[in-house]
Symmetry: D2
């Protein structure tokens, strides 16, 4: 095995490069999760999380992966057989729908081409036709990690409102929170699902639900089995700074440091940085002569870019070359995109020169794989980065 | 607030003092959880875990607290309405039963006085009478963290076998695994539930199920909703070193280091160390003129000791004094024991002099709280520690 | 080899137990030692160090061990053949005098019994008789690490002043700074020598000179070769936050954290804590029936206690037993005290229960070595600790 | 102040980017520097260092900066007034000569243009003419950190040998050791001077002397004052794994990890990597239309490249732009090169994509500073990196 020198480029769209400050923070000794020091930590965390979610309401932290927070959003608000509206925007949207079905929900899925986000007009159609209000929830993935396409949540909200439909709006922000502008309250989201390992710059192991009043009310009558995911005991215990189950103390230390960093940079600056890096990446992709998977410019993701390889070029072979030769991990095409796209993560703890190194690795990897990627691609990205 | 110098004594019965080597291990950079380096880690972990559980079968690792692993044991093996046999051996046994009920199981609970473990004879009675085999599972907490009482699992197994009863045996080892001798296969346990934050010397955030063939078979027909907890996709993905959901990478790094340490010391030596520290602690308690909560010497816990305070002495006030004056956290009395016992954790990354410091703090705290604890208590413990 | 569990008790009188916060701080990435971020760090450090030395004057930080700072004090202020007055108060005072001789100084040494500090009357005698002012410097070890005896620097200063003698006063505070009250300016010290690895709670690798105006003036005409140790370029470069040579960046990170901790606890509280722990230790020693090496109660060290073993008992054998059985390092008898004393360090990042564990280890180690140490020794220490 | 996201690019030619493994290693708790665990560490270190220096002889480790190791090389081998031959190859060679003069040596300096290394013919001339063997030492900087020019040590050795001159050969490898091929024994070097913070991938704070038999013999009669730097007590104490002074324990932990990494990659692979990165860098510089400072292709440095800015362009302004806009530190022009060159460090823990990011930052910085750097520069570097 080749021994690589230097720092690995972890440019999958998450888990992302964890800042060394955060890593050092999680290496602090465990403390009593029922003591006053811990209670003070919990309170600081819940406060500092609010602007990131854009909410003044409760945020529930789970010691779990993002998948768990998906489940939490469903089981806290819904009952067996409830109809939920899903959208085939990509791999993760599909998995969430499959989970909903597995939990005994009637999960309807509007088809999609994996190159567009949720179509607000389609939402309007379905809900407008649902006079009986049989649809109990609309499940949207804000930023599809498998495609690099974002869905326009405010427009979806508007569609729901215009249909005067009472369905809950559940939104997965696993790969957008802390990277893309997001406003739980303002956009009228009922449950926001998030994870620690992307824009929040932590290792995986924590996930989140932000919860609206309406979702809270729904949770009182929901009959799916919540158990581990039950919001009520968490929210109650959080009042005094504690958790009903043993929290993942050390990841919470990291969360505090990561939030400190996000707020020091300033959320608007963080969002602008991600958008700028995405723009530079797309400039490179196009100058290489390749195609960005996302087909609607209103829906470009700020946190990752999925790139289509030319016909006959196995995207996984490109990724393998990049890994072996340049010690960089890129995201694979998932599901129906397997072998046909690779994904460049440009989110989290990231900067211009790391992006330049990333794109240099992609450019060389493409060329080594027989793709005649125009070498001006990298410079096209630098043109974006150089201009303020 | 007083600023304390020196290292906090975290002598609750878990989370325990995490070794600095483990803390440094979890501070390593995140890697691609779908890459070859991660796959190799998974394989090493699953191998090194086997002797700790005493099993050659599958071990499922969750990014979750121990509560999650409780739920996993139930939902993977049982169906709504199934009758399960629980035992009121303490606070956590009670919580587990409540969870079972919440999940829609018919959780019967044999009463107990919180000073004894599960009575094998009672198991024999219930199962012997259950000719229809309506009991589907027997739920035992191996080491009750709230009482410092262990249940004799091999004797319980024998009782089940003598009744020739097919019920599954589910055992919670959250505060015993890695501290007390435990043998999943040899003792015929079907699901072993464990967590990371006690004898495994990690921060909280990981939990485990070890699974027998019989439990695996049961999981194929179980109808409770498993979803996040579903063994099958984890076991399948583990084959190639991966996980279906994003694993808690950095805690897994820590797990590898902790397992390396346990195996370097040698599991028999680890168990003997815990037993010896428990013996020294009980010697101190008695010499102080106080009473150990555990009433059966066959059931003394090696990982913690619950101590009854004399009538009129609030155990929480003692704990508060110890925390403020000596910067040591002790475990509170839980549930019906609130205010009447405190618990001394002597498990995990621990040694003779840290135990001596711990017991010195307890002795001084008792005296400052008005308990006439005989100062020879500490020396009684040292007598145990001094003798090889 | 026995694998020990738990945390090693590093109870030598330095290097001391480094706080985990400091260890994490030194694990931060290296930065450009000529950049603005580094300059700001230097300025913060030099400011925060001042109250620890008790000076408003320059403090020179060396990437070097304490031995280097000894040399710096001499070579910056003296010229070949200069007469300096030393005192045989212990091993380190002897080594410092030997260094002075090796550097070409005429180092006169007043004899001592290694159980007392410097006798101010003797200083007065020598300096009073030195009408020609041939003595250029008086070299005092504030806290003799080999004996646990402190010298009364203010009284020595008074003796020099009463003799109206212009000799410089050079004081080694390697094992006292940050543990014992010390006042460079108020006590009229000319050069204070210090190291990082004791009361400053850092790993070894940094050392210090605090410098009076008079010493600075002397440095302008001193003719010993200063080179690496030359104050002038350091003080000049420090003006803009830099160093003439490459500084030990990461230890400086640790220094900032350690200083933050010392100031958070408050220096008077830090000094009181050390004095109290020393008092508790002496109470144990006496109750064991052993003798503290320091023979004058005005000169007891707050940072360590040297204990005489009974005739016929090899102190090193006791230490070896303690190390093997209880994983605790104690200090050896040095020089003429080899085998006859062991030294207990109770300085730096330390607290009551760690002291209790330490003394428990010493008590058991003595008993295992055949010394009939009265078991009430430990309780005598606890009596001190228990009383506020 | 702008808050930068992502990892700082520390591309000065040292201190270099410390691997996170090394940082975590130095965060391990301090141990007794007189105990068996430490002794074993010392022995492992001294063994693992040998192939890096290319020596079977003694290597002396100092808790000090590289400046200290310069001094050590001189004071251990020379006597006041000794004639030493120096070469004006750059800033650090000049500083070393000034140190020699300050120590009382007769340091003669052959002039140079800061674009070439030591001329072996000039060495031959001076030594050939020195029939009386008044020259006692020849001081060569292997890799001039201020210019990116290496001197050809084997050719210099040959020149000395051909003159049959007994002068010692002292070589500074501060910025070459662990990055460029180096052979203390084979090349007949008498003292090799090194530091921790460049190719050894550690933070600053350790420095080294590798010592030939001839140098050792010279040290027995040398009359400069060695004191702190004296080899003899270090070599003697190292025999049993210890040091005469308190060693910088935690940096030594890091050294062990760094050496493990170097040996895992393999020294020939390490050297080839550095040479390749230097080649790629020079390709970029030329394609930008700029000039590499080093004027002789036999003397290109593998660890850094100094780049001349066009007339009228202040190199420091370029560096400032790069720092502010792209969070990258570059090396300044030193001494007579101030403002006229900047230096790119490409040594230590480094890889292709980090180099690409580095060169992207330089390219953009130049363009933002008004230099019409051809954008094909970066691609010229990638051409080198892409070819195996």
């Amino acid at each position: 095995m080749t021994i690589h020198s230097g720092r690995h480029f972890l440019q999958i769209p998450g888990p992302t490069n964890v800042p060394e400050q955060v890593l050092r923070a999680i290496a602090a000794p465990a403390i009593d999760h029922r003591g006053p020091e811990f209670a003070a930590l919990t309170r600081r965390l819940l406060e500092a999380l609010k602007p990131v979610f854009g909410t003044g309401g409760p945020i529930v932290i789970y010691p779990a992966s993002g998948t768990g927070a998906w489940e939490a959003a469903l089981v806290n608000t819904l009952s067996p057989g409830d109809r939920v509206l899903c959208f085939e925007t990509g791999h993760f949207a599909t998995l969430w729908r499959e989970m909903a079905q597995g939990l005994g929900l009637d999960a309807e899925c509007l088809p999609g081409d994996w190159r567009h986000g949720v179509d607000p007009a389609a939402v309007a159609d379905v809900l407008g036709a649902d006079r009986a209000h049989t649809v109990k929830a609309v499940c949207v993935v804000h930023n599809e990690t498998s495609t690099g396409v974002t869905s326009r949540v405010p427009d979806i909200r508007r569609a729901i409102d215009e249909a005067a439909h009472p369905a809950l709006l559940l939104v997965d922000t696993v790969s957008s929170l802390g990277s893309l502008d997001y406003r739980h309250d303002e956009w009228g989201v009922d449950v926001t699902v998030a994870g620690s390992q992307k824009g929040l710059m932590l290792p995986p192991g924590l996930s989140f639900n932000a919860v609206s009043d309406k979702a809270l009310r729904a949770s009182r009558t929901a009959r799916l089995s919540a158990s581990y995911w039950d919001w009520a005991p968490v929210i109650a215990a959080n009042e005094s700074g504690f958790f009903p189950h043993t929290p993942a103390t050390n990841l919470l230390y990291g969360l505090e440091e990561a939030l400190r960093m996000l707020h020091a940079e300033g959320l608007p600056a963080v969002f602008a940085r991600h958008a700028r890096h995405a723009r530079a990446t797309r400039a490179a992709v196009r100058a290489w002569g390749l195609e960005v998977l996302c087909a609607d410019e209103r829906e470009y993701s700020g946190s990752l870019t999925a790139v289509r390889t030319p016909p006959g070029v196995d995207a996984d072979a490109v990724r393998q070359t990049v890994l072996e030769r340049f010690d960089m991990s890129l995201g694979a095409g998932l599901g129906r995109l397997a072998g046909r796209v690779f994904r460049i993560g440009h989110l989290g703890h990231f900067n211009d020169l790391t992006l330049a190194g990333t794109l240099a690795g992609v450019q060389m990897g493409l060329q080594l794989s027989g793709v005649a990627a125009d070498p001006r691609g990298l410079n096209a990205a630098l043109d974006v980065l150089r201009s303020a």
